[in-house]
């Protein structure tokens, strides 16, 4: 599938800012399931971008903007050719061994209830692969996906207790549960084309999880849908949790408050977010 992505982030500040420093994880890398044809980041003011790669293998950019500045627009546009590989990942940059992804972080601490849930899924038996699938389906059944919810603020245990969350929250729940079952798991941020909503503008990027299964390698699981990612997905960044893979982490020097507006359009034809 040929996907066109347009991801725009608008910041407006109530007072001019003296300096803005951001860490961006907005750029996907090619693997066997996705071929990046074209990708660019544009900033609508005088800024410096520095490209690097982090320890997880993600392509990062540092964004430096001098003030005074009271609004910034970041536009990410790209074209990606994708293949449906039933969630199987191969050909990705893998600097770290799977075992690393057994490491719990504060956001992916399961808590007793999720631990029990994971234990039940595990106790039902089967191969690691079937357990991973069952976990994804069971979570999708049990949890309600709230696409509009503000994401990233809740840890896995709280999301699980509340029974609903944004895709970012659900991804952290799956990651926490898979690790509790002894399977290495990681958080993935990226984009997803929705054929139901078509090219409608969404308010956030997508997120899901990958679980490492012996003999198969990394396999994607999307607890928002209960399925594995296919050719409608573009994988951008991977890490232990939301914070490590967040598309944008920013700091600003200056007073006042900020308003943030995000618009993401994933389509099968080129068009521009208005």
């Amino acid at each position: 599938m040929r996907l066109f992505i347009d991801h725009r982030t608008d910041y407006r500040f109530s007072e001019p800012q003296a300096r803005i420093v951001q860490l961006l994880r907005l750029t996907p890398t090619s693997n066997e399931g996705q071929n990046i044809i074209d990708w660019r980041i544009d900033v609508d003011c005088n800024a410096r971008l520095r490209r690097a790669r982090d320890g997880f293998g993600n392509e990062t950019h540092m964004l430096y903007i001098d003030g005074p500045i009271d609004r910034v627009t970041l536009s990410v546009t790209g074209e990606v050719l994708t293949d449906d590989r039933a969630g199987m990942l191969s050909g990705a940059v893998e600097p770290l061994p799977p075992m690393l992804y057994l490491q719990t972080t504060p956001a992916t601490r399961p808590g007793a209830a999720l631990d029990d849930f994971a234990e039940q899924v595990k106790a039902a038996g089967g191969s690691a692969l079937s357990r991973a699938h069952r976990l994804n389906e069971a979570l999708a059944d049990r949890m309600t996906f709230d696409p509009g919810r503000h994401a990233g603020a809740r840890d896995a245990a709280s999301t699980f207790a509340e029974g609903h969350g944004a895709c970012q929250d659900l991804a952290q729940v799956l990651v926490a549960a898979a690790r509790a079952m002894g399977l290495p798991a990681r958080y993935i941020s990226g984009h997803r084309f929705s054929d139901v909503e078509g090219s409608k503008v969404q308010e956030a990027t997508h997120a899901w999880a990958e679980v490492h299964v012996e003999d198969y390698g990394w396999i994607g699981f999307d607890p928002s849908t209960g399925r594995c990612p296919d050719d409608r997905y573009v994988r951008v960044a991977a890490a232990l949790d939301f914070r490590g893979a967040a598309p944008l982490s920013g700091t600003r020097t200056g007073g006042g408050f900020e308003e943030l507006e995000v618009g993401v359009r994933v389509g099968t034809s080129q068009a521009v977010v208005q």
Partner: protein, 528 residues
């Protein structure tokens, strides 16, 4: 009085009042100086420390209860051969720590070769995966290490803990010496004591040597402090001042284009080396704790780009972790090719079935520690624990053996110490400071001696009745024939001064050195 079998570093093993032959003069000084005079000098030293502001706040007490760490006037002395052997072991250990860090953030050969179990590194909360693949300028991670040692006999030293993050306490080494020079000058006539006041110069030299390549002949070094509320602020300002470099807080620095800049009245100045006294967790809100206001956004990017040296490098905690500690003898051997010259305290890894069985059979004799615990939490001191405590630990050990290590209780050495009932032996530990720069490893002949002031106590934490002593390293054999007067001219070359503006510049600074159980790295010692 010390138990039979306890080694007293000055008086030897027999428990009598006579000193070891090499310390005869010191033994006579202790017995000949009236306790009232020792007490007067000790009080004078403490008054000076209070005036300098080397105080710490005890958590949970009123703000007004800022205390100084008690100072003991009776010094601890190491002979030249003792120090030489110790130094060799320390150099070897610190080189291995740096080789290990370079490896685990690089190729991870030591894991591939099966020396260290992979999960102890990869699933260690101190391992920072986002920095995997990043090597610091000149390949050195732990530029400043404070290795905590205990001693049980003339040649029996053991490493208790490797502090490879941001060890503190070096200001006590310097201030204690200055007090001793002023109050007990006769000791420096009796003994050729090697000076410690070169430490700030050596530290500065070390910092400059590890500047990123291309930063020229005069790299800009700064000390980054969390601020004056931090417990060790005195030390931060003291070190910046004695090195003659800027003391900065996060707000004084910014990163642009992956380069670190310092605000000055003459405009921005590029910074090459940051001696940071802020923990990894708080150093850059973009990468670690997002709520940190102590850190500098972009600092990790500048580090990863090789544009700034962070001293110590982020992520060094994976080397001084308790779980890794038990593998240090193997780690030293792996990188140095020889046996570790400084042994660990014998450690049973309860993850190994045989060690677990031994531990369970000997709980009342052992100290059991949680590998991921700190500050004395999750620790069993067998000999002093109740039956119920032992049984609770037994259950915990059986449930999760991999989380525990066990160690024998050691007969820690003592040093004569001034107490309310005269001079008496008290248990001590020792933290020398080891500097690793591009030109090799250097150790100032000295360190921080902590003493458990309560009789029989093994807890050297300042928050729990611990104090400090001067640690004197002798340049050569003591002059046994020397009287308490005269012959001072023979010491000409050894005269010491705490050079350069150190004391006057600290005047009027009344900062808290608070929470010294933290700032001196003191976890409760469970070694008996």
């Amino acid at each position: 009085m010390a138990n039979i079998g306890t080694f007293d570093e000055i008086r030897g093993n027999d428990g009598g009042d006579a000193a070891r032959p090499e310390f005869g003069a010191l033994g006579r000084w202790i017995t000949d100086t009236p306790p009232a005079e020792l007490d007067r000098r000790q009080k004078a030293a403490e008054a000076a420390f209070r005036q300098l502001g080397i105080t710490f706040a005890v958590y949970g007490e009123e703000e007004s209860s800022e205390r100084i760490i008690p100072f003991d006037i009776v010094p601890r002395v190491f002979t030249a051969p003792e120090w030489d052997r110790l130094s060799e072991g320390l150099v070897q250990r610190v080189q291995a720590i740096n080789a290990f860090l370079s490896d685990v953030y690089g190729e991870r050969r030591i894991i591939a070769d099966g020396i260290v179990p992979p999960e102890l590194v990869l699933n260690n909360p101190q391992f920072l995966p986002t920095l995997a693949g990043t090597q610091p300028p000149h390949g050195i991670f732990a530029h400043i290490c404070g290795i905590d040692l205990v001693r049980t006999g003339p040649d029996e030293f053991y490493v208790l803990e490797d502090n490879a993050r941001t060890p503190s306490g070096v200001s006590y080494m310097l201030e204690n010496r200055e007090a001793m020079l002023r109050l007990c000058p006769e000791l420096f006539e009796m003994f050729a004591v090697r000076p410690v006041d070169t430490y700030p110069d050596l530290l500065h030299e070390t910092l400059r040597s590890v500047a990123p390549r291309g930063s020229g002949n005069s790299p800009v070094c700064v000390v980054l402090t969390p601020g004056h509320f931090n417990s060790a602020f005195y030390e931060h300002s003291f070190l910046a001042d004695s090195m003659g470099v800027e003391l900065v807080e996060a707000a004084d620095l910014h990163v642009d284009d992956d380069v670190v800049w310092m605000r000055t009245i003459e405009g921005p100045v590029r910074v090459d080396v940051i001696y940071r006294r802020i923990d990894d967790e708080y150093i850059d809100p973009l990468v670690f704790n997002p709520d940190s206001v102590l850190g500098v956004p972009g600092l990790i990017a500048a580090y990863m780009a090789g544009n700034v040296t962070l001293v110590n490098a982020p992520g060094t905690g994976v080397a001084d972790d308790k779980a890794i500690y038990s593998y240090m003898p193997e780690i030293v051997k792996y990188y140095s090719g020889g046996e570790a010259k400084l042994p660990n305290v014998e450690t049973y890894r309860c993850r190994e079935p045989q060690a677990l069985r031994y531990t369970l059979d000997n709980l009342e004799k052992l100290v059991v520690k949680l590998v991921d615990g700190s500050g004395g939490y999750g620790m069993l001191v067998g000999p002093t624990a109740s039956k119920a405590e032992i049984e609770t630990f037994r259950a915990a050990l059986i449930a999760q053996p991999h989380r525990y290590i066990a160690q024998p209780t050691l007969a820690l050495s003592t040093v004569p110490t001034l107490t309310e009932s005269g001079v008496a032996p008290r248990h001590v530990d020792f933290r020398p400071f080891i500097l690793s720069g591009a030109n090799g490893v250097q150790i100032v002949p000295g360190g921080l001696t902590r003493v458990a002031l309560r009789e029989g106590s093994l807890v050297v934490n300042s928050s729990q009745g611990g104090g400090t002593k001067d640690s004197m390293i002798l340049a050569g054999p003591a002059r046994q024939s020397m009287g308490s007067g005269g012959m001072s001219q023979s010491m000409g070359g050894m005269s010491q001064s705490m050079g350069g503006g150190m004391s006057q510049s600290m005047g009027g600074m009344n900062q808290s050195l608070g929470g010294t159980s933290q700032s001196l790295g003191g976890t409760t010692r469970g070694i008996a």
